[in-house]
């Protein structure tokens, strides 16, 4: 149980949110209406996807105050508190890619397959491209192809061919490249990586307790963020960390834990 405590919490949050959204459409619950692009909390508080808003502004939309406030609330929540937590605690695609990734590890595919080169910075190119296309085409470009909103909308309002998006991402992550979608391509992940760079909740590594078993690096979907493991005691400060806590669960030595970012610049005391 201890080994999957954060996994259970993440699934609880992810599925719980889905149920609230689903109930709003199907049974008229007034707790959380709408979907991940834009919602209404308790019929009063607007919430909105800040990345969608940025695209819409690039497309030249004149937006109402409500939605701007909603976007600001979400942006501040992740920027100050959660970091890139959207990706591992909220996004429904995370469950698909986690399954693909877990299967990939169990089947040992990464050990056999020759690695296809894919840059981690692809998502930032996608991010730039989405804004450029929004500007040129006059419509929020990623929102029209986003498998995230497609799947989430599908679960709340009816799927249509949205299952295709799930299957494509699942197969790609399983057979082509590990963490291909979440860790390399998705511009929303890129957006939250930038936004969440300065957030307070951080995984902290204690090099003194570490036995260098490297289980954490093996399980991490964004391996580059754990560059300090077994070397230095410091917080995971890269924005790409999704705060999924897989490294914390898998660590047998209690060398990784959630902590608050130390606001004083004294990260590298124990080298």
């Amino acid at each position: 149980m201890r080994k999957i405590r954060y996994l259970l919490m993440r699934r609880f949050v992810q599925i719980g949110l889905l149920i609230l959204y689903f109930g709003a459409n199907a049974y008229g619950w007034k707790i959380l209406q709408g979907n991940l692009s834009g919602s209404l909390l308790f019929e009063t508080i607007p919430l909105a996807d800040p990345y969608a808003l940025v695209q819409m502004l690039f497309a030249g939309a004149v937006l109402a105050t409500d939605i701007l406030i909603g976007g600001l609330i979400i942006a501040l929540l992740y920027a100050i508190v959660g970091g890139r937590a959207f990706c591992s605690w909220v996004c429904p695609i995370n469950m698909v890619t986690d399954l693909a990734n877990w299967l990939r590890r169990k089947l040992g595919i990464s050990k056999v397959q020759k690695r296809v080169y894919m840059s981690r910075s692809l998502r930032y190119w996608m991010l730039g491209l989405s804004l450029l296309l929004s500007l040129v085409m006059g419509v929020a470009a990623f929102e029209l192809i986003s498998p995230i909103s497609m799947v989430h909308r599908g679960l709340v309002f009816g799927m249509g061919l949205g299952f295709g998006a799930i299957i494509v991402i699942f197969l790609f992550d399983l057979f082509v490249h590990e963490n291909a979608w979440c860790g390399h391509i998705c511009p929303l992940g890129g957006f939250y990586s930038i936004l969440g760079k300065i957030s307070l909740i951080r995984v902290r590594h204690d090099a003194d307790a570490c036995t260098a078993c490297m289980k954490c690096v093996e399980v991490c979907p964004e391996k580059e963020v754990l560059h300090m493991v077994a070397k230095r005691s410091e917080s995971v400060l890269m924005g790409e960390c999704t705060n999924c806590a897989r490294c914390i669960e898998v660590c047998d030595d209690d060398a990784l834990n959630f902590s608050l970012r130390s606001l004083v610049k004294k990260e590298k005391e124990n080298t």
């Binding site: 979907n35 692009s37 607007p46 819409m56 470009a141 192809i145 909308r153 799927m159 249509g160 949205g162």
Partner: protein, 266 residues
């Protein structure tokens, strides 16, 4: 040392170049797709929707209007519907718009893609909902398949219309074939019609002979060259009209001059 820094710069430039190349490739596919799904001219939007181009920019695809609709009229476009994904629309033949007095789908829109002001009127200094200002589309009658135009009595659409005798009127005409019956032809008054689609829903023919189309598709425009001279309101359009003169090779000199210029005659 110098060589090293040169090679790093070269590496950086080439990495960037690869990114640009891949982006160009991606942009081609992506923009082709976006261009394709944007063009859905036959879609009917919820009441108060901005003009299609602005609507697509402004709608965040949250589905709050869909949830607010008490009749389940509004749908969110799913992948495979061949409509811009995630945007709200309705299909009158399945469920028409019942024109609720308080138009609940509009005020809930967080972005302003459904414009509250466009479906409200000022009454005694207060803005109140005005369903007469809804304008989702306009009903069109196919007179070839409408059985009322054949001479069979049917006023299903006329009676289904929430603006009976305003948006659909019955025009009486003598049936010359029988000599003793009347045609009772439904005629849509397009500037009153809101495009709710209750007529299309009610139509008795196998495929509805009256159906709702978006305004841009179904309506013409007389333009400034024709004015209803007998109509004060229409004539007001002339107020700012300015004369315009076209000069061609022939007309650049006055016609009188050509008569006075006798040079060519001798």
């Amino acid at each position: 040392m110098k060589k090293e820094s040169f090679s790093n710069r070269r590496k950086f430039i080439l990495t960037m170049a690869r990114g640009v190349g891949l982006s160009a490739m991606g942009a081609l596919v992506w923009s082709a797709y976006v261009g394709e799904v944007k063009a859905a001219p036959l879609i009917l939007r919820p009441p108060g929707a901005l003009p299609e181009e602005d609507f697509l920019k402004t709608c965040i695809k949250c589905g709050l209007c869909v949830e607010a609709c008490p009749y389940d009229t509004l749908l969110l476009a799913k992948p495979g519907d061949n409509n811009p994904i995630g945007t709200p629309f309705f299909v009158p033949k399945d469920i028409a718009c019942y024109m609720c007095d308080d138009i609940p789908c509009v005020p809930i829109c967080p972005t302003g893609a459904l414009d509250t002001a466009s479906v409200q009127s000022e009454v005694e200094g207060e803005m109140v909902w005005d369903i007469m200002k809804m304008d989702m589309g306009v009903a069109v009658v196919d007179v070839q398949s409408c059985i009322a135009f054949w001479g069979i009595q049917c006023d299903a659409c006329y009676r289904a219309c929430p603006l009976m005798d305003e948006a659909i009127i019955i025009e009486y005409d003598k049936n010359e074939r029988t000599g003793k019956h009347a045609f009772m032809k439904p005629v849509v008054i397009s500037d009153v019609c809101t495009g709710c689609g209750l007529c299309e829903r009610a139509c008795v023919t196998e495929k509805p002979a009256i159906f709702v189309l978006p305004n841009e598709i179904a309506l013409g425009k007389a333009g400034d060259h024709y004015i209803k001279g007998w109509d004060k309101a229409d004539e007001a359009r002339l107020k700012d009209a300015k004369g315009e003169t076209t000069t061609t090779e022939l007309s650049k000199e006055s016609a009188l001059d050509s008569l006075n210029d006798m040079g060519d005659l001798y």
